[in-house]
């Protein structure tokens, strides 16, 4: 019997994201690196905007995507904050990491490729706001 799917794995239209239900990508019997993120702010399908902020230091969000809006494609899990680990601290509290899907035309103002082209990247929750 399959475990009850985490409600966060449902898309906003109610459909279960097939990539995230049941067996999420185990390799040769190794447990998945997916870790639950119960206290998260966003779910699959939510519209989000990356903060348009330019603080100093080791930042894990590329400049070109700051200020751009996209959609949560998956919840990757909660991980020690790399922006703290970078300075020798323990990275606690953990931050929820999402894969966010953007339309290429939204990221690059003069994008000349097909309308449906997308770019996806992993972004930590503290860089995201509801859009």
């Amino acid at each position: 019997m399959s475990p009850t799917p985490d409600p966060g794995l449902r898309r906003s239209d109610g459909a279960l994201d097939s990539r995230l239900s049941g067996n999420h990508g185990t390799l040769a019997g190794q447990p998945s690196s997916y870790t639950p993120a119960p206290g998260r702010r966003f779910n699959v399908g939510d519209r989000v905007r990356v903060k348009r902020s330019f603080p100093p230091g080791h930042r894990r969000t590329p400049s070109y995507v700051r200020g751009k809006a996209g959609e949560i494609e998956r919840v990757c899990g909660a991980f020690p904050n790399p922006e703290e680990l970078a300075y020798g601290f323990d990275g606690e509290p953990k931050k929820v990491l999402y894969r966010v899907r953007f339309a290429q035309k939204d990221v690059w103002p003069s994008y000349g490729g097909p309308e449906q082209d997308i770019i996806e990247m992993e972004i930590y929750e503290h860089w995201l706001e509801p859009a």
Binding site: F54, P62, S63, Y64, R66, A86, G88
Partner: protein, 120 residues
């Protein structure tokens, strides 16, 4: 084109025009193998973390673009070992002087052990 800002890191170049890509496999020089092995051991022992190495590499600023890959990672490793107090700059300088004298290696470094083996 992405936004210019005062805290832009030298590694944050997505969307910028890049130069020609060097597709030649240059292999690894002797010192690059040694330095890379040291980095692997220190990472495995959790003495340094990947995130710290990246941060120390980014702090190279304009030098980042002028250095080769293993020069960047080794420079970052040096920064972290000094930061964490595993060695002092004086100790490192003295050791480097000693090793240079011992090996007397040319710029294009080749393993002295390998050289001896070929000569036999």
């Amino acid at each position: 084109m992405s936004e210019k800002h005062p805290h832009r890191l030298p590694s944050d170049i997505g969307g910028e025009a890049g130069g020609a890509v060097d597709t030649v496999d240059h292999g690894m020089k002797f010192w690059e193998r040694q330095a890379n092995a040291l980095r692997s051991v220190l990472s495995r022992k959790k003495i340094v973390r990947t995130d710290e190495l990246r941060r120390a590499a980014e702090e190279l600023g304009e030098r980042y673009a002028q250095l080769a890959y293993f020069e960047i990672t080794t420079s970052a490793l040096r920064t972290l070992m000094l930061e964490k107090g595993y060695m002092t700059e004086q100790e490192l300088d003295a050791k480097m002087k000693e090793v240079r004298a011992r090996f007397d290696v040319p710029d294009e470094m080749e393993s002295p052990v390998k050289k001896q083996a070929i000569a036999k």
